[in-house]
Structure formats: structure tokens, C-alpha cells
């Protein structure tokens, strides 16, 4: 959807305006704690807004905060954390939109939560065709067993 890099250099000009007394938040392309820190140091902003990087990876917020606070990177979310988030998202989706639509709208999220897991495609294609909540939950259980020993990097 968005091509090219966000140009944050304008933000320094905006903040340099002496008539401006309101907070300005930078947005565009933040996708890692390192980049967040680099941009925080380079540009005069009061905070940051994150879009695409949070899709399927809500951990980005706490990862950035931890990195700012300690200079160290949090370990990537475990399989259990990913399963829990997927489940929470699914449950809420159903609660909010009803069974059918909730399951349907959740489909595009699975790949993201389990990004990088080798061989996940087979599970994914079953998840995105599963029609009932129970079916999805069962596949998530299978994932839990199949990848129990997998370590994320």
C-alpha cells in the first residue's frame, strides 16, 4: 500500500516552529526496537505511532519500550504467547462479530502470529478453511504439540 520510505525529516521542522506547543508523534515504517530508537534519537518527536508492524505482532509495543528502558532486546514471544494471543483475538472476534463473521475475519491474522514457523502452511490452510470455533481451537492445539520444541529467533 505504501511505497517508499516515510520522510521524518519534516518533523524536525514542524517541531522547530516556535508557535507550536502541542505534541507531535512520528509515524511511518517503525518495525523494530532498533529503528524506533534510531528515529527517536534522530527526530524531534514526542512519541511514535505504529501501524503495519503491529499486525500479527502486537509485541512490538512492549519490545520497543523494553529496548528504550534497558538497551536490551526482549526474547521473541514464545509459542505459548503466540497461541494465547491468537486465541484471545479469535475469542474476541467472535464475541464482537458473532460466530460466522468472527471466524471469517480472523482468518487473515493466523499467518502473522505464527510467522516464520517452518511447515506452518499446512496448519494455516486448515485454519483458514475451518468453519467452526471448535475446529480452529483444535488446530491450535495441534500446533501447540507440533511445535513444542521449536525455538523462535
Amino acid at each position: 500500500m505504501y511505497k517508499g520510505e516515510a520522510d521524518w525529516s519534516y518533523l524536525n521542522q514542524v517541531k522547530a516552529n516556535p508557535r507550536l506547543h502541542i505534541p507531535v508523534f512520528g509515524n511511518g515504517d517503525i518495525d523494530s526496537p532498533e529503528k524506533a530508537l534510531e528515529y527517536r534519537q534522530k527526530y524531534d518527536v514526542d512519541g511514535m505511532m505504529i501501524g503495519r508492524a503491529s499486525i500479527g505482532y502486537p509485541w512490538i509495543f512492549n519490545e520497543i519500550k523494553h529496548f528504550f528502558a534497558t538497551g536490551e532486546k526482549l526474547a521473541p514471544p514464545t509459542l505459548e504467547a503466540r497461541l494465547a494471543i491468537a486465541r484471545k483475538h479469535l475469542d474476541f472476534s467472535i464475541e464482537w462479530k458473532g460466530d460466522k463473521l468472527g471466524i471469517l475475519e480472523m482468518r487473515r491474522h493466523y499467518t502473522n502470529y505464527f510467522r516464520g514457523m517452518p511447515g506452518f502452511k499446512a496448519y494455516r490452510s486448515r485454519m483458514v478453511t475451518a468453519e467452526s470455533y471448535e475446529e480452529v481451537v483444535e488446530i491450535l492445539e495441534e500446533v501447540r504439540h507440533a511445535y513444542a520444541d521449536y525455538s523462535f529467533v
Binding site: Y10, R19, I22, P23, G26, N27, G28, M49, E95
Partner: protein, 187 residues
């Protein structure tokens, strides 16, 4: 401490961007759990809101555990936006946000979203009108920080109590896709 109106957001808040078809309550719930300090709804059509369209009204659903939360509206008509702001405020958000940045063709070319950046005077009037309408802080999310720099130095109305705006520089103003002429004053 960063503040928008009376809303204290910590030292360096991380905001969840408004994303159509993404930033719905289920998605916001997981982002909130993982540390988002301020979240926004998907953008909501002002024309949809004032006509009580189900699709638009449903997007006003916000929950207490999500606070602080902002509702984002978009549109090209000042009067519709004023009415939509009133409707959105009644849903109880902490912040009202105006989308001045959506580059999607069907939005921008109708003069809403980034389309309004072609008419800075109108953008300023619209903002002032909405700020006058609501009691909660108003934020704006423009696409092009260059445009905002221009409007900031010359034409922002006095007495405007908008509390924040975010130049989101990621989106090249798509204006040239809608019209061949770029008005002076746009950088």
C-alpha cells in the same frame, strides 16, 4: 510527560495507528495487552455516521479497558464532519481524530482524507469547526508533514485548541493522482 489535553500519556507514548479493517476491537485488545499507550479506531465515514449507516456506527464501539482511545473520522464536507464529530463524541472516546491523510483513491479524490491537503484553508476551517464542536481534545493525522509545516507557519486559526497532530510522513500526498495542478503553498 506527554499530554494531550488533560490526558497524560507517559514520557514517550507508543500509539496504535488507525487502520481500516485492522484496528477493530479484537485487534485493539491484543495491542492494548502488549503495551499500546493510545489507540485509534479505524477511520469512520462522516457521511456514514450522519446517515446512521450500520457499518459506520459499529466502528464507534469502544470499551473502557481500551482507554485512552481515539475515534477517527473522515470526510470532505465541513458540516458533515461537524455533525459526525458530535456523534463520535457521544460514543465517549478520550480523543477525536481527524483523518487528513488517507491516500486511498476513492477517499482522497472526493476531497476527504489526503484530498483535503489540497485545500489548506478548508482543512483549517474544518479543524476549527470540529474543535469548537467537541469538548474532548482533537488530534489530526495528516499525510504530508510538508503541508502541515506550511499551514502551521501561516494559517492555523487562533484559539484552536487542538492538542496534537501527527504528521505521518509515510504517505506521499497522492494529490497529483487526482489532479494535475498542485496549489501553491503545498510543499
Amino acid at each position: 510527560m506527554v499530554k494531550i489535553g488533560n490526558l497524560a500519556l507517559g514520557d514517550f507514548p507508543l500509539l496504535l495507528a488507525p487502520m481500516e479493517d485492522v484496528s477493530d476491537p479484537p485487534f485493539r485488545a491484543v495491542c492494548k495487552q502488549e503495551g499500546a499507550d493510545l489507540m485509534y479506531t479505524e477511520f469512520i465515514s462522516s457521511e456514514g455516521l450522519i446517515r446512521d449507516a450500520a457499518k459506520s456506527v459499529q466502528k464507534l464501539d469502544i470499551y473502557d479497558y481500551e482507554r485512552p482511545i481515539g475515534i477517527q473520522i473522515f470526510g470532505s464536507e465541513i458540516e458533515s464532519m461537524r455533525q459526525a464529530a458530535e456523534i463520535a463524541e457521544a460514543a465517549g472516546p478520550d480523543i477525536l481524530d481527524i483523518n487528513y491523510g488517507c491516500p486511498v483513491h476513492k477517499v482522497a479524490c472526493k476531497g476527504a482524507g489526503a484530498g483535503i491537503l489540497l485545500d489548506i484553508d478548508k482543512m483549517v476551517s474544518m479543524t476549527a469547526e470540529i474543535v469548537k464542536q467537541v469538548k474532548i481534545p482533537v488530534t489530526v493525522k495528516p499525510a504530508s508533514a510538508g503541508t502541515i509545516t506550511a499551514s502551521a507557519s501561516w494559517r492555523w486559526p487562533k484559539g484552536c485548541r487542538m492538542s496534537a497532530y501527527r504528521p505521518s510522513a509515510s504517505m506521499p500526498a497522492p494529490a497529483s493522482r487526482c489532479t494535475r495542478e498542485r496549489p501553491t503553498g503545498l510543499t
